[in-house]
Symmetry: C2
Subunit: 367 residues, 2 copies
């Protein structure tokens, strides 16, 4: 167990740090929400109290992301991994003949998982891949081998494990919707929702607690589900039931709503983007200062959210992590599949946390 007596900075890739103000409000309201005598956890999802929480959360999210009126916001369960099946189950019916063909751009671990799962339901065309170069870049769009009339194109716009982030919205010829897994960078930068057909995101990075999955889907993409799609994961059915086809993860939606309100108060997504650029610059500069540390990602595709790095001398890894922990810099160990270190610096990571990490990086490197 970690035992610390001073404030900590938690660099977990997710579930991840949440705004302190949000946690304070949640604690204060735990036993009695707004004089109702009930915890939000105890409320019927169909009662006026929870409906008001739900509607405000949806409204605030719509405002934060400037979601156009012809897009629906769904609150679902099953995480990003669940959507890896749920997306093809909902969109494969767009193809005149089954199995449908779907294009993927493979940029890291998460898009690779999406490819693997989609193969249960569709023909997968890997239109482009950076696997051969160790997932250190987004393949240039000019080299993508897209399928005319594909059911959709799938991209993961921020690879949490590999630290690779799209710096552009894909543009596709014809009527091929772009599906984007934005789990680990949604709300961290401005996006043009209209460039996408579907955006999905597990909540446990920039939104709120694990167990909530956000899906933003364009109206015309709600009617292409395969008959084998479970009813509870059918986007149209979920939409028509206002995300209450089954009991939604009410408490997670409540916390997400508090996060959305908090982001609005801070200045919205544009302000978060400004802060995230600043935090990322600070951290990458420390990693690039000499060759003591190394981040392998091409600079133009480096993630502002997930910063994997390696020590030149990997025999120092344990010492590095122990020293970090002693300073309250937590959960810096890299994903087991790639090793090394990783600092996730989501919206709720203050610049003070990044500065504390940079100070430690410099100290440990003997600078």
């Amino acid at each position: 167990m970690t035992q610390v007596s001073h404030p900590v900075f938690n660099f977990s890739a997710g579930p991840a740090v949440l705004p302190k103000e949000v946690l304070q409000q949640a604690a204060a309201e735990m036993l009695d929400w707004h004089g109702s005598g009930m915890s939000v956890m105890e409320m019927s999802h169909r009662g006026p109290e929870f409906i008001s929480i739900y509607e405000q959360a949806e409204l605030d999210l719509r405002e934060l992301l400037a979601v156009p009126a012809n897009y629906r916001i769904l609150f679902m369960q099953g995480g990003g991994l669940g959507q890896n099946a749920i997306v093809p189950l909902n969109l494969a019916g767009r193809a005149p003949q089954q199995p449908a063909t779907v294009d993927f751009v493979q940029t890291g671990s998460w898009s690779s998982k999406s490819i693997k799962e989609a193969r249960r339901y569709v023909n997968v065309n890997v239109a482009a891949s950076s696997e051969a170069n160790g997932f250190t870049a987004v393949p240039p769009q000019s080299e993508w081998k897209l399928t005319p009339g594909a059911a959709y194109l799938h991209v993961c716009t921020n690879e949490t494990i590999d630290g690779v982030e799209f710096n552009f919205a894909p543009s596709v010829q014809g009527d091929v919707p772009v599906v984007a897994d934005m789990s680990s960078h949604i709300l961290s930068r401005r996006i043009d929702v209209s460039k996408y057909g579907v955006i999905f995101a597990g909540a446990q990075k920039n939104i709120g607690p694990a167990g909530l999955t956000l899906v933003i889907v364009r109206d015309d993409l709600l009617d292409a589900a395969l008959p084998i799609c479970p009813g509870v994961f059918n986007w149209r059915a979920v939409m028509e039931a206002d995300s209450m086809l089954n009991t939604p993860p009410t408490y997670a939606i409540y916390i997400a709503g508090l996060v959305f309100a908090h982001l609005k108060k801070l200045g919205g997504v544009a302000e978060m983007e400004r802060r995230n650029i600043e935090k990322a610059r600070l951290l990458y500069a420390a990693l690039d200062a000499d060759d003591f540390y190394k981040n392998r990602v091409a600079p133009e595709y480096r993630s502002r959210m997930n910063v994997p790095f390696y020590l030149r001398d990997e025999s120092l890894n344990d010492k590095f992590l122990a020293g970090a922990k002693a300073r309250g810099l937590l959960q810096l160990k890299g994903h087991k599949s790639v090793g090394g270190m990783r600092a996730s610096i989501y919206n709720a990571m203050p610049i003070e946390g990044v500065q504390a990490l940079v100070d430690y990086l410099n100290e440990f490197a003997g600078r």
Copy 2:
């Protein structure tokens, strides 16, 4: 909005009342769990802190339900409605030829939903149904028309909307596992897990917050999934990943763990059963005192958890509900599909709440 200045009793069918001690502990630990400097919501699901929470929750649940060693406990997402698809997707492969045949006993709204969803994947045989009598009883087992060699038999052992509860464990000839949806009465009475192949339950009644689904599955039933089963809902894959194939709903698991520990402190499931029998007797006696109120369920199948009832004069419904609310007796309106009233009296409803409701029933009836 409800605005009350005194303690309330919340009769919601789910999400439902939680033990006050659990909410108090959750509030106290919200910003700093056990000196870790982190909220449970912020913890990596793979870190030692959350792993300890998860393992203790599983251990306590195993003890509370006396789960035999050859059964696995899975913490999933998607609710009971999700399992309506996930169960056939995981068990239909038991049949030598597809589509498999599955037996159902139809005793109310929830088993009816399970039947509807299963038809996507299997041949449904409704072995028995009480639909013709308005779902007011469990059909006697002697009349069930079971299929020899069925992939499984599905029952809903407590119908939340109809207030019908099994008072026996089904017994089946040969190698046909019994799948039981125990969403709304799990942990409320002693059960013999070994009589079932699979038990599942949405958490939001007797376990914890909505968004967590409990699945207890016998070892030999982990290898019969159809190829179209989404990976994230494949029981074996979930089991092998210790319910962390994707990020589990960590905070909901934490709250469930607090509930389990609380139940153990109170004396476990046997003690809850004793209390629930007492609460149910008290409430049904008041409903049966004269014909001012009516519960239509055959006495031997009346649910101890969900008590639907009707006023003889239904024009008084609004007045009844308004008076109840003024006394802090909340969420007594019946499900929209059946009308009338419903009092859900789960584990966390104290007998004082039932007594307050009984007092009001008597007062309103002019007794």
